[in-house]
């Protein structure tokens, strides 16, 4: 009887751990829209207001959401859209077009994508349009419902907005902003970008049609709030199936956030990069060490994860450098010049050194001036880690690199 019970609890644990992993991994890696937002309440309200005005009251608008990488722009937008979709009127009427600067690399592709997302392919058919503007106007005209004189509001979301400004003449942007100003169809254009100087990249005629409404997401929380975010991100939701496990887990998270080592790890991380995406990566690494035999996260897990995350890449690779140093060592290892040249070429291939002028300069291989792309500390670190390093190489490095 007790054996069966223990087997039950262990099987429950296995299934339970699997569910925990599933939920948390989705939260950290895939940024599911059920997560919570932190520190962006004002921006959230602003954006929601804006979109409500378009969809419910029929106003046209444009806005730019600006923030560094990983600060939560897409997440904010998705949250706002989710809340908006709960209103029945919006759900039935609103049309969304999602464009991405990485995917639609020129305006022709963008136009085809717009047609496809508005599901107008059969309407457009084989028509040939004189200009971009005509095409777009035709699309929007066709959106008008039969008897009603008001047409459906259309929401254009442009991800990686800074890539659209490099298209020829910025036609797409010009036309979109133009329509948003001319108040025929209620159209809202929302751009998301990581560049703070985006307004300088816009052409004059495009900039004048833009409403200059900017929403900034600047990661403006301090370390105390960061700790709170850490706790909330790591906690399991209360509607999770295995109630007793949830309580234990959440209590563990609470104690972790009060633990000194964990706070130190998080503080180091916070000083490197504040944004949530890197926090998610750290938590994901710590999460991957959770198994049935190790069901609760500990401080050492987080420490390990932090070390793995911030390993200096170049200190590892610089092992090759010591072959080049060999030449001057004049020790028992007397290597011929061609052998050293081969090692030198390997360094070149690894891009640890780079020729100053490009390869088009016609000079002999041995005499090309090179630039070393590492600095002294990295070389010293690498020599400490390098296995079987001859002592005279180490001494030579310390003596010549230390006074520089």
């Amino acid at each position: 009887m007790s054996k069966r019970k223990s087997k039950e609890t262990s099987s429950v644990n296995g299934e339970c751990i699997s569910q925990v992993q599933r939920i948390l991994r989705e939260r950290f890696c895939h940024q599911c829209p059920n997560g919570k937002l932190f520190g962006v309440q004002l921006q959230y309200k602003h954006l929601l207001e804006l979109l409500k005005r378009t969809t419910i009251h029929g106003e046209s608008n444009s806005a730019l959401i600006i923030g560094p990488r990983g600060s939560g722009k897409t997440m904010l937008l998705n949250h706002v859209l989710k809340e908006l979709m709960e209103v029945k009127q919006v759900r039935e009427n609103l049309l969304q077009v999602h464009l991405n600067g990485l995917l639609q690399t020129n305006d022709k592709i963008a136009l085809k994508e717009i047609t496809r997302q508005l599901q107008m392919e059969n309407v457009v058919g084989d028509k040939v349009f004189g200009s971009f503007a005509e095409n777009l106007a035709f699309l929007l005209e066709a959106l008008k419902k039969g008897d009603r004189d008001s047409s459906c509001p259309v929401l254009f979301i442009l991800d990686e907005f800074d890539l659209f400004v490099h298209h020829k003449n910025q036609t797409l942007l010009y036309n979109l902003f133009d329509i948003s100003q001319s108040a025929q169809t209620p159209v809202t254009v929302i751009g998301l970008t990581c560049r703070q100087d985006i307004l300088e990249l816009l052409e004059k005629r495009v900039k004048s049609r833009f409403s200059h409404r900017q929403i900034y997401l600047l990661n403006s929380f301090d370390f105390k709030q960061y700790l709170k975010i850490f706790k909330e991100q790591l906690s399991l939701p209360t509607e999770f199936l295995y109630k007793p496990f949830t309580q234990k887990w959440n209590k563990n998270v609470q104690s972790l956030s009060e633990d000194r080592t964990v706070q130190d790890v998080l503080r180091n991380h916070f000083h490197c990069s504040k944004d949530l995406r890197s926090l998610h990566m750290l938590l994901m690494l710590a999460l991957s060490s959770i198994t049935v035999s190790h069901p609760f996260m500990t401080g050492s897990d987080l420490l390990e994860a932090s070390k793995l995350y911030r390993m200096d890449s170049k200190a590892n690779i610089v092992h090759e450098f010591q072959k080049f140093i060999q030449r001057k060592a004049h020790s028992m290892y007397n290597f011929e010049k061609p052998v050293v040249m081969k090692a030198f070429e390997h360094l070149l291939q690894l891009e640890l050194i780079k020729p100053i002028e490009g390869l088009s300069v016609r000079a002999q291989r041995e005499y090309l001036l090179m630039k070393l792309l590492l600095d002294n500390n990295q070389i010293m670190d690498a020599l400490q880690v390098y296995p079987n390093c001859p002592t005279d190489v180490k001494q030579w490095a310390t003596s010549s690199l230390s006074w520089l």
């Binding site: 890696c29 560094p68 690399t105 994901m284 890449s313 690894l350």
Partner: protein
Amino acid sequence: MPNFEHPEYPEATLLHLESMVPCRESQVSSLLSVFGERQHFSFPSIFIYGHTSSGKTYVMQTLLETLELPHVFVNCVECFTSRLLLEEILTQLQNLSSENKHGSHVPCDTFNDFVRLFKQEIITQELQNQTVYIVLDKAEQLREMEANVLPGFLRLQEMTDRNVTVVFLSEIVWELFRPNTGCLEPFTLYFPDYSIEYSADFYAAYINILLGVFYTVCRDLKELRHLAALNFTKYCEPVVRGEANERDTRRLWKNIESHLKKAMQTVYLREISSSQWERIQQDDGEPGHLKGLSAHAHVELPYYSKFLLIAAYLASYNPARTDKRFFLKHHGKIKKTNFLKKHEKTSNHLLGPKPFPLDRLLAILYSIVDNKVAPTANIFSQITSLVTLQLLTLVGHDDKLDGPKYKCTVSLDFIRAIARTVNFDIIKYLYDFL
């Protein structure tokens, strides 16, 4: 009890996996823990880097095939344009589910189409619940393609909204990949080199000796394996001939040592091919004259050409103002003031040859040749043939007829050999050896 523990996969598979990836247990276990269970999400992108032959491709392929995870494996050097790359991925994806019908060629021009077709492909197969892995080998080639390919792959999970992870394998560190405006950072994992393991039987002793000679120079597994295979018969020779038995390591070492050192100069540098090497081993004569590729660079020159070459070398590596001291009968002393010395810390030999005009070459030539030399067309044609032999190079445009400039591109050892054949002490005339 295998080192890898994973609830998802049976123990037998994990044991088998462990036997196939020696010395890489820690990397494989971190990969396993990051992958998680089949249907779980993982990092959107993973970046694995390490030296040549540190096992990245092998480990990834073995891992994915042994655990039977759905994956697509593409080499970016093979598919060197974005179109080839995207079409290859889509074709392999089609082949994943249906073994019967070989997928028709899917045309895919742009990344936009790729995302759309990718989403369609995943829906039509039972891949919706499992993570699909796309492995891009030699990922440094991605930087040469269009600018949106690399950031696009980094965000593929978000853009397609599917459970897919992209793995990049490369020799170059991540910092050299990062685009200017930033991107979604991948999880980076490092594969260190294989390290020496010492053990005690016959073959292992051979490997130890081989590694002792070559390890400090080369850690590339492929090269070491090649060298080991080539030299093994020679190593076994004393045992075969009956002179030594298997345990007699000292005699075996004496036999093989000079051989390996020669191998370093020749086969390792690809001076001679491996078949030539084996033939030499079989001849078993005295080591003698191994004519490698670089030996063919030696040419026999006529008398005046040798002096022309010496003069060219002197002109390239001596600064022009020192000519007076070397080549005039009555010269003054050069005042080596402190100011000059400070600027000349780097010897000219490290900086490389400098260009010189034709007049200077002829002036030096007249002063070093004993008898009178007439400036006939003979001399000038010899200069041109030296250029053809690539012992001199013409600097600047070749349509400048009245003042051509040249540069001497031979090494010091070569010119000393030539100077010795005409009894000319070139070291006396070089500024760097004053």
